[in-house]
């Protein structure tokens, strides 16, 4: 009995789930870190990334005949562009007008934007509310490790999550944009006085976060080949919990939180499926009670 819960295969399963959460959580935590806004529409940027890669796959594969690595690269670019673009537009038209209004207004707007995107997509005829089968962009391979198997998709998911996490840390710590981001994060008004174009920094934050969500959408589509307009809700929620667990606003924290969530969910599901579904929320309640700032989070006074 215990063997079927704690074994190598289940660890691999957990890492796979965790890496998808990690990719979404990175964007969540980054936007929160800079603007102190929980962007509930982030899960929908993820969905848009999946649809953009779905569309560009058919466009370039059937019309222009691209294949293999080239095609995968084109699809990746499209998912990044779509995620980034929609995040930039959302920021410009929904969040920016409310920047200096009470925080609750932005939060409610975020929920509104999220619902708008979901329902608009399901009412929009070329997309529609039905499930679509996501194409196999790269050939799937199974690698045997003892009695367990790991797919190349799982390795790609984990690899991309790691690379993006490192890239983001470098960006934030060692580039002028990153320096500006940290400044804006600490004090918007002081940053403005120092000559930083605050709105430009925030725009870039959204674009990078959205692009990450776009990549996550592509990888999720490849790993679980079924996409639909509401696909962002559950993973978005889980990734948000992962970001809170790791310490919202903290980049390595989001990734650690995501992997803890993925593993906890898998082990709990292996024990009992209902437990697996609830464990994410149990973790959230526990974190909020015991350590509200999360594993790596900084101490701050208020969190919405």
């Amino acid at each position: 009995m215990m063997g079927s819960i704690f074994n190598v295969q289940q660890v691999i399963n957990g890492l796979q789930t965790g890496s998808i959460y990690a990719l979404i959580a990175l964007g969540y935590t980054m936007v929160y870190g800079i603007v102190r806004l929980i962007n509930f529409a982030h899960g929908d940027f993820f969905m848009i990334g999946a649809y953009a890669s779905y569309g560009s796959f058919f466009l370039f594969n059937s019309l222009l005949g691209a294949k293999g690595g080239t095609l995968a690269f084109i699809v990746l670019i499209f998912s990044v562009l779509a995620g980034g673009a929609v995040a930039a537009v959302t920021n410009r038209f929904a969040y920016r007008p409310l920047r200096y209004k009470p925080k609750l207004s932005s939060l409610i707007t975020a929920i509104g934007v999220s619902m708008f995107i979901e329902y608009f997509f399901s009412a929009f005829p070329p997309i529609g509310p039905s499930y679509k089968a996501f194409p196999e962009i790269l050939p799937k391979m199974q690698i045997a490790i003892g009695s367990a198997t790991i797919s190349n998709y799982t390795l790609i998911d984990i690899g991309v999550a790691a690379v993006l996490m490192i890239g983001l840390t470098v960006l934030v710590k060692w580039t002028p944009l990153g320096k500006a981001m940290r400044a804006v994060s600490q004090d918007k008004d002081a940053a403005k006085l120092m000559g930083i174009d605050v709105e430009r920094v925030i725009s870039w934050t959204f674009i990078i976060g959205g692009a990450f969500a776009g990549v996550a959408g592509l990888l999720n589509g490849m790993t679980y080949p079924r996409i639909f307009p509401y696909m962002g809700i559950q993973p978005g929620l889980k990734a948000f919990i992962a970001a809170v667990l790791g310490g919202i606003g903290n980049i390595p924290g989001a990734v650690i939180g995501a992997y803890i969530m993925g593993l906890a969910e898998t082990f709990a599901s292996a024990y009992n499926s209902l437990l697996g579904e609830g464990i994410a929320f149990a973790i959230l309640i526990l974190v909020l009670l015991v350590r509200p700032r999360g594993i790596l989070g900084e101490k701050t006074a208020d969190k919405i």
Partner: protein, 372 residues
């Protein structure tokens, strides 16, 4: 003069309304045209409309033209209750054909029963559906029967001695199927090595599948709907499972192969009818359906078509649009339909046979018929 004109106008309107009432009747239809079982709703709607069209071409029923009102329940019980109320209160339907998913039908049926509007669910296989009341019928066989037939096929035809089942915890249909499969398979002398539920709306089933495959089952019973079946099949194959997959009529969708690809090969499911069968009813139905919709009808379409025929025949036999009289005529019906000859038992369930369909080379192929 003005007053006279308005009285005339009113008279004309009244006349038109009363004429309309005597010359036509409205038949309600319900199905999930959008949502998680969208292809089910779409097929149901097409089968329903085709049957009504054929009847209208032959002069309608009781000398009246049959009008239709088809509502989308979105696969959601709350939405189902709303549209049933709308059909009965607003559209004044004489009878209802619907709906597809058991959990939604269970929300709608009490409303039809209370209003004494006879209804036939084409495809709700959960036992409890017709137990709601004496106005509720169905055109398909029920869950225990599908599970039993599946177990019989697995044990005798596939020669499996060890089986495992996976199902959706939040769905009565898939739970019911897996439970009856387990009971029947064990009664035949087989062992069920794992019996695992998964949460509704999940996309990752690997935790459950890893646990299931440790028992080394020789057949995997997946009682989910097609879109979950595709994901489960893919993940089971990824984890190294090569044996046969087995399921119920929830597999019956052209999207199963689109979503599942090679993973659903060596898959079998119990179904209500096979489009490659050769009875005259099937031939006529498949020909007309193809001419109208440019697609091969699935069982959902066939059952909606059958349910509509059963209801209209009952109205014809009752010689009335009164709910109680239609109900009595339905209970006494004996009609040869696309999915076989239908009579109703005391619980308003049809007595008929099941077909086993195999997924072979990306196509649904008729394998065998199993009698109850």
């Amino acid at each position: 003069m003005k007053q006279f004109l308005s009285i005339m106008l009113l008279a004309v309107v009244l006349l038109a309304v009363s004429c309309g009432q005597s010359k036509e009747l409205i038949l309600g239809g319900v199905g999930p045209v959008t949502g998680e079982a969208a292809t089910f709703g779409d097929s149901t709607k097409k089968g329903f409309l085709l049957a009504v069209e054929e009847w209208n071409a032959k002069g309608g029923v009781l000398g009246k033209t049959i009008k239709t009102s088809f509502a989308d329940d979105k696969g959601d019980p709350a939405e189902g209750a709303t549209v049933y109320t709308k059909l009965i209160q607003q559209d004044k339907v004489v009878a209802i054909i619907g709906t597809v998913m058991s959990k939604v039908t269970l929300a709608g049926a009490p409303i039809a029963q209370a209003a004494k509007i006879p209804m036939i669910s084409p495809t709700s296989t959960n036992e409890k559906v017709t137990l709601v009341g004496d106005y509720i019928f169905r055109a398909c066989f029920i869950d225990p029967f599908q599970g039993t037939v599946g177990a019989k096929f697995a044990f005798e035809d596939l020669k499996a001695k060890k089986a495992a089942a996976i199902f959706d915890l939040g769905n009565d249909y898939t739970k019911g199927l897996s439970e009856s499969f387990k009971k029947a398979f064990e009664a035949l002398g087989g062992t069920v090595v794992a019996f695992e539920g998964h949460p509704s709306g999940a996309t990752d089933f690997k935790a459950q599948l890893t646990k299931i495959l440790e028992g080394k089952p020789e057949v995997l019973y997946i009682s989910d709907y097609y879109n979950d079946v595709a994901l489960i099949a893919k993940q089971a194959r990824e984890l190294g499972y090569k044996g046969p997959l087995l399921g119920g009529d929830g597999w019956d969708s052209p999207d199963l192969v689109k979503l599942g690809g090679e993973a659903v090969e060596n898959g079998f499911f119990t179904n209500h009818y096979a489009p490659d069968a050769t009875t005259p009813e099937v031939l006529t139905f498949v020909k007309n359906y193809k001419a109208k919709n440019n697609a091969t009808p699935d069982a959902l379409a066939a059952l909606a078509y059958d349910a509509t025929y059963l209801m209209l025949t009952a109205i014809k036999n009752a010689k009335s649009t009164d709910g109680a009289k239609i109900r009595d005529a339905l209970a006494a019906i004996d009609l040869v339909c696309v999915s076989g000859r239908v009579k109703f038992d005391a619980n308003r369930n049809p007595i008929k046979s099941a077909a086993i369909i195999e997924i072979k080379g990306g196509k649904q192929v008729y394998r065998t018929t199993v009698n109850p």
